[in-house]
Amino acid sequence: MTRTTKLLAALAATTCLVAPAMAANVPDGATLADDQSFTYRILDEFTSPDPQIVEDVSGSEIVRDLFEGLINQDADGNPVPGVATEWSSNEDFTEWTFTLRDNAVWSDGEPVTAHDFVYAWKRLVDPATASPYAWFGELMSLDNASAIIAGEAEVDDLGVEAVDDHTLVARLSAPLPHFYMMMSHASTFPAPQWVIEEHGDQWTRPGNIVTNGAYILTEHVPQERSVREKSETYWDAENTVIETVTALVINDENQALTRFMAGELDRTEVPIGQFPRLEEEYPDTAISIPTLCTYYYNFNLRDNGPEATHDERVRQALSYAIDRDVIVNQVLQAGQTPAYVFAPVGMANMDTPNVEYENWTQAERDARAVELLAEAGYGPDGESLQLGILYNTSDAHRQLATVVGQMWEQKLGVQTTLENMEWNTFLDSRENGDFDVSRGGWCADYNDPSTFLDLFQTTSGYNDAKYSNTDVDAMLNEAKGLEDAADINRQIEEIVAVEMPIIPVYHYANAYMLNPQIQDWPVNNLEANWYSKDLYKIAE
């Protein structure tokens, strides 16, 4: 193959041919409700409406309505054009070019240009911004991002450039075939430099804030409510149906459910344990959506960890003895699925791993667990084993730790103590390795298994088990540069399922009460990314 044909082939492979952008897709014959408002509950005040500062889930949901990034997601989580109409990369995925639409404008009438993205991305990694999400710039492998965050390079050295108003080029320090998929993350959204320079920290206040998304922030009473209203300057305002979106802060989920029942809310979370009842009583309202998150337990593989769990056989035994079907079907009961591997099944770029113990019956797992523990010298005929399970204060975590502890005790004779700690104290203990077994929960930042599997990297700051395997490290590094890393990702999961540094327990599901008048909720978007502009409300 000549160099030119190779280039052409690569170009064909990596250029996105423009699909129609998403917006509310109201079918002919549907009768829209007069009141096109959507009111939903958030658990707690969101961190900020600033795309480069926001760090929580509910904040990101709000930012996705207020600002539009280069790429949005459709109802199935596939990338669709946002501000960018097309994108392509060079052959080795180290340089990405985005073409921006020419009809995108900010809510003050200024055009949205490539310079707004350059400003935003530099702002993200600038130590002066001190964004808690600056690491996303590193994750994007933008040239010099790490050096800039460390204060060793100038912000202007960041690998991003506006070639002209409508062409944005990103230069990466490592090949990243799925770079474009990160563009729907809030921290990559554009920022209006002139507004931020005029108002400083207060630029996100209603009245000051200028946005380029389908909505503008019109009211924000912290700890109580925030209201966003349809932006008439949004390029696709014509197809945006929902006029007003209100997020109400309601701490107590039972109180939120009562208010949902009283018609004050269009969406709220289902309190623990109530899903089966609500699903039966309100089948068209109670929904459960699988999501890309995994609940797991860490072993402490540091030198100070229990000697027993340094033995692979003990870790396997403890994992096998957990009956995940009982946990999801009898304890959680809200659509969660059993986890035998870390990355949730159904993620992009992942072949379903064939881990042996998943195919066994629970009786087989239990029998094998007893054998393994005996081989390791523990159990009824060996040394007695005592483990503490560390978790943060929450009924759900306590309930699960109790059930797991009982399974270990009944099947293996392992004594457990429950160690409950307040959130920050828990994080501190877990990070410092002051535990035997600790709870963990991890959600995807983007739809690729690397967002999970990177936790097994020896140097990862999130590797709470302190697992280390040089083969896995090498495979993880290799996977980063591959366009199709499905095979290597599968192999990593298979190694981890044997060495068992963590025990995957279940994959999350979000259980909601959703007003059945609200249409087109993206139930198939595994990242649970929704855009109010894609919803509409039908008449009762």
Binding site: P127, A130, N424
Partner: protein, 307 residues
């Protein structure tokens, strides 16, 4: 009297200083920090965030700069959890909410509580007394975290009369349920205190003398019995008022009012140092002020007390 007030204010200043230093140190001793999360920040990112908020400085410098900020600019610093807002903004938004529902609860509790207490004492061992005692014991044992959801189920879900939560700038339909839920148990305490102290006063010699002189009962109660009977109540009302206007976590959580009660506990869990400090100082200052006010009121009501 003026000398006494000045002396009390003189004591208040070192008290506040000790409170600030003590809370500052306790807070820093708590494990974790404002930027801890399930997903710990990479060390360099954490260093930048700490530097922005001055958390990379030694404790004594942080404390000194904090004090200088308060004393010279009345600036209680930025919130670490909500970085686009200052503690001043946060308190300015949350305190009026709790102050409003707290004050109304106080008024409700005092009016209803005193009336019940007095009526029960005057008609001692009558059906009115039993009713008042029964009501106040009922109200006392029904905690507000039980009361709040019941109110919402009845008035929002079943009857549809009142919104189930929110504040909306303090419009009256949003204020009613928080006021009832917060005021009830205080009302019960006030009724009990008033009743027992009224009973004691009504049994004393000067009241018997007034009765013997043929003074009309209503005049005896209003002119002679009420003032001494309210003295024990007064020492209860000072701290009760501060407790009510500085908010209740339960009320804020159940009625989503956005008040500072909830903010206080949330900021403690989030290690939002500056918000905890700001609210602690506010609570401290209010407690000191109202205790002083109560003492002054004592002297004004009871001529035997002189400072």
């Amino acid at each position: 009297m003026l000398k006494y007030i000045l002396k009390r204010l003189g004591v208040a200043i070192p008290t506040m200083l000790i409170l600030i230093v003590f809370s500052f140190v306790l807070m820093r001793l708590a494990p974790g920090g404002p930027f801890s999360s399930e997903r710990p920040l990479p060390p360099q990112v954490l260093a930048n965030v700490n530097a922005k908020f001055g958390l990379d400085q030694p404790w004594h410098i942080q404390l000194w700069e904090y004090m200088v900020g308060i004393l010279t600019r009345f600036d209680f610093g930025p919130s670490f959890a909500y970085t686009d807002r200052s503690v001043n903004d946060i308190i300015a938004q949350g305190f009026p909410v709790t102050f409003t529902y707290g004050t109304w609860s106080f008024i409700l509790a005092v009016l209803v509580g005193c009336t019940l207490g007095i009526a029960a004492a005057v008609r001692h061992n009558s059906w009115l007394d039993y009713f008042a005692v029964g009501t106040s014991i009922g109200a006392q044992v029904l905690p507000n975290f039980v009361m709040a959801p019941i109110l919402v189920i009845v008035f929002t879900l079943w009857l549809g009369w009142l919104p189930g939560g929110g504040w909306r700038g303090g419009q009256w339909p949003y204020v009613i349920m928080p006021v009832i839920a917060l005021g009830t148990s205080y009302m019960a305490s006030i009724a009990r205190i008033t009743r027992s102290s009224m009973l004691e006063v009504l049994g004393s010699n000067f009241i018997r003398t007034a009765r013997a002189k043929g003074m009309p009962p209503i005049r005896i109660i209003v002119r002679h019995a009420l003032k001494p009977a309210l003295m024990p109540l007064l020492s209860y009302l000072g701290p009760a008022f501060v407790g009510m206007v500085t908010g209740s976590v339960v009320i804020d959580v159940y009625f989503s009012t956005g008040g500072i009660g909830q903010l206080f506990t949330n900021s403690a869990f989030n290690r939002d140092y500056s918000v905890i400090m700001g609210i602690t100082i506010l609570l401290g200052a209010l407690t000191i002020t109202f205790n002083l006010l109560v003492d002054i009121l004592y002297a004004w009501i009871d001529p035997r007390i002189r400072y």
